[in-house]
């Protein structure tokens, strides 16, 4: 409920911002690019937006293909169901949002610039492009569930295009803006419509051909994927054995696999903010925390929800609570070490990055990992591991949105006083010492966690049984 309110506010904020951009866009573009054609400039930006749009749809948009199975037994023609699902997807937030930009811009700038006929063609082209994105993402979503590699390659290509555009290496928009221009200046305005029709037709056939209970739209049967066997873990007793099982959990379920991939994105995420953050500024603390802690931040916030579908197994099997909790701790604390190793090449950019990632690895493993252990014992909900969408809200409560505040505040409370006094390296040392203390007193802290878990497990069992 609270999550819906937050999402609602977020959506309203986005729509209002879009509206502002739509109304002001013409003036802003004229202000910054006085020599250029406003509409052509807008077209360039819009193509850029469409690229970002594909990525964000992939992460956020829920496509209704999974609900296909629910309708199959009803007395409705399959073709009607498929058309209904496709039409339904067209009314998504992601298709409405760009309209809030495009329509005001159409009135303020395009009609005046092109005349009403061409302006209407322009509007039709914009809407068509958005719908192409919609159905393309729908198709990607389906492909991702069956052949993740292909979808990943396409998404990587899109991300690459955005990157080179951003870096100014190759500007796709400088080619695409005139391309969009040709379209409404000539008979080529028909091209986007044809593309849209083609994609719609392909997707419709794909849905129709798979409109059977056993065609992969239902609960899917996967081939056995082993990932790494990680047999060496067996020599670490029960803790190692459970880690091996949990690593299979991560590798064999869509949602956890996506969370894992997401963690790797966190490794490069800070560079989206340019290249200056690592000299001197305090942002290096946050970014180092995120880089080494990507897995902890993602997977850790649902630490026990991952086990919601087999929680009874964990409670009743001959696996001690101690081993289970220790394994959970080792998993998220240890991930910091693995990701720290992956940050080592950054030493060529600046040795200071690696110094700070090392410090934050200690702090994450020795302080924040316990925090997640404690937090998830109090905030865990049932969730399905099979629903792959990264931003699927299942298992997330409003508390998960606020947990980032204390997580980010903790290292600052330690570091900031030193930085203000000008002793930045002492601040780093303090962070490292706190982390080390947490690691040294691991047994004592875990003993407390075990006591707490014995009391909290009924609450968790109850939440997971709902």
């Amino acid at each position: 409920m609270a999550v819906n309110v937050i999402m609602g506010f977020f959506a309203a904020y986005m729509l209002l911002s879009a509206l502002a951009v739509g109304f002001m866009g013409g003036f802003i573009l004229k202000e910054y690019f006085p020599d250029e054609n406003v509409i052509s400039k807008f077209n360039g930006f819009f193509v850029y937006y469409l690229l970002v749009d594909i990525l964000s749809r992939f992460l956020l948009q829920k496509f209704p293909s999974f609900s296909l199975v629910k309708f199959l037994t009803l007395n409705i023609k399959k073709s009607t169901i498929c058309r209904f699902l496709l039409t339904k997807s067209a009314f998504s937030f992601f298709n409405i949002l760009p309209l809030f930009v495009v329509v005001p811009f159409f009135f303020t700038s395009v009609i005046g610039g092109l005349g009403i006929v061409k302006a209407l063609i322009w509007l039709a082209i914009m809407i068509t492009l958005v719908l192409i994105n919609n159905f393309l993402s729908f198709w990607l979503d389906r492909t991702f569930n069956k052949r993740p590699i292909i979808a990943f390659l396409i998404l990587a290509a899109v991300a690459g295009l955005i990157y080179v555009e951003y870096k100014g290496i190759f500007s796709m928009s400088s080619y695409s803006a005139p391309l969009v221009g040709y379209m409404y200046e000539s008979v080529f305005f028909i091209v986007p419509a044809i593309v849209l029709g083609g994609i719609y037709y392909l997707l419709y056939n794909n849905l129709l051909a798979n409109a059977y209970l056993d065609a992969g739209d239902g609960p899917d049967e996967e081939t056995i994927s082993d990932g790494a066997e990680l047999a060496f873990l067996d020599s670490y007793g029960e803790v190692g054995q459970w880690l091996r099982i949990e690593s299979k959990l991560i590798w064999r379920n869509k949602k956890s696999r996506n969370y894992l991939f997401m963690s790797f994105i966190f490794l490069v995420y800070p560079f989206a903010f340019g290249m200056d953050w690592y000299d001197g500024s305090f942002m290096i603390i946050v970014f180092a925390l995120i880089m080494v802690g990507g897995f902890m931040l993602n997977y850790g916030q649902l630490l026990f929800s991952w086990n919601s579908s087999h929680f009874d197994f964990i409670i009743t099997q001959n696996l001690s609570i101690k081993s289970f909790l220790k394994a959970k701790y080792v998993l998220i604390a240890g991930s910091n070490l693995l990701f720290f190793i992956l940050t080592l090449p950054y030493v060529f950019l600046s040795p200071r990055i690696v110094l700070v990632t090392f410090v934050m690895m200690l702090f994450n493993a020795g302080i924040l990992s316990y925090f997640y252990l404690w937090f998830t014992m109090n905030n865990s909900k049932k969730m399905s591991l099979a629903k792959g969408n990264l931003f699927n809200q299942e298992g997330i409560s409003a508390a998960h949105y606020f947990i980032m505040l204390p997580i980010l505040a903790m290292p600052f409370i330690v570091y900031l006083p030193f930085q203000l006094l000008g002793y930045e390296n002492l601040g780093l040392l303090a962070l490292a010492l706190f982390g080390l203390l947490g690691i040294v007193f691991n047994d004592q802290v875990l003993a407390k966690a075990i006591e707490f878990f014995k009391y909290k497990k009924y609450f968790l069992h109850n939440n997971f049984a709902k």
Partner: protein
């Protein structure tokens, strides 16, 4: 072996279980019967430390169950799919449980051989995750897994539900073969015929209360049937 003292569990004003004193003795095969909501699963959940009673204490081998790891080594249970690791194949699942009981893989293989009849070639060696098995095969996997490690206490909730007739009959044989002076077996079921056949003591629950506690005789099945007819 298992003792419930003064146990009460209620959800709001609804009493799920209220047992003054109940002792299950070593060597007994106890059948738990009762309509939906009678408290069968709640009783099992208390014995398996899955829920916390509002008051009262449950003991296993005279040690308090709540919060202890002690009973886990000798208690095998299957209550619901939540007892399965759904992302493993049945073989991996059996292997993991046997490792937790320090079984060698050859011991496990010999152990599993005796259930070939029950498995009907649909469980062992199957390259499927447990989540992709049919309900019946999931249940078979869970029940056999509960028997790994020679447990002294065996708890099975509705073991006959979702199984095909042949498997139900085979499972009855399996349970009868398990009977031994040092094993305590608790089974709940809606199938009065099956449960009276395999048990030597029947406990009838209704609205959380123990209504009848009978030593099984020739008359027990008829007595139960007439009770449930009237209710």
């Amino acid at each position: 072996m298992i003792r419930l003292e003064n146990i009460t569990k209620s959800y709001g004003s609804k009493v799920a279980l209220a047992v003054e004193s109940l002792a299950i003795n070593t060597g007994e095969v106890v059948g738990l019967v009762g309509n939906n909501g009678a408290g069968k699963t709640t009783m099992f959940s208390v014995i398996l430390d899955l829920i916390n009673p509002n008051q009262g204490v449950a003991y296993s081998k005279d040690i308090v169950i709540a919060g202890s790891d002690h009973w886990k080594s000798y208690t095998g249970s299957y209550v619901s799919e939540n007892f399965l690791l759904e992302f493993l194949t049945p073989d991996e699942y059996f292997k993991f449980i046997s490792e937790l009981h320090h079984f060698s893989s050859s011991d496990l293989s010999t152990f599993l051989d005796q259930f070939e009849d029950l498995f009907n070639n649909e469980i062992r060696g199957v390259q499927k995750y447990i989540r992709d098995l049919s309900k019946g095969n999931q249940k078979k996997t869970g029940i056999v897994a509960a028997l790994i490690g020679e447990p002294d206490v065996i708890i099975l909730d509705e073991p006959f539900a979702n199984l095909d007739p042949t498997t139900q009959i085979r499972l009855k044989t399996t349970i009868k073969n398990l009977r031994s002076p040092d094993k305590t077996i608790l089974i709940s079921s809606h199938d009065l015929t099956h449960v009276t056949e395999v048990s030597d003591r029947i406990i009838l629950l209704e609205n959380g209360l123990v209504i009848k506690d009978l030593v099984k005789t020739e008359e027990t099945l008829r007595e139960l049937e007439s009770y449930f007819q009237v209710i």
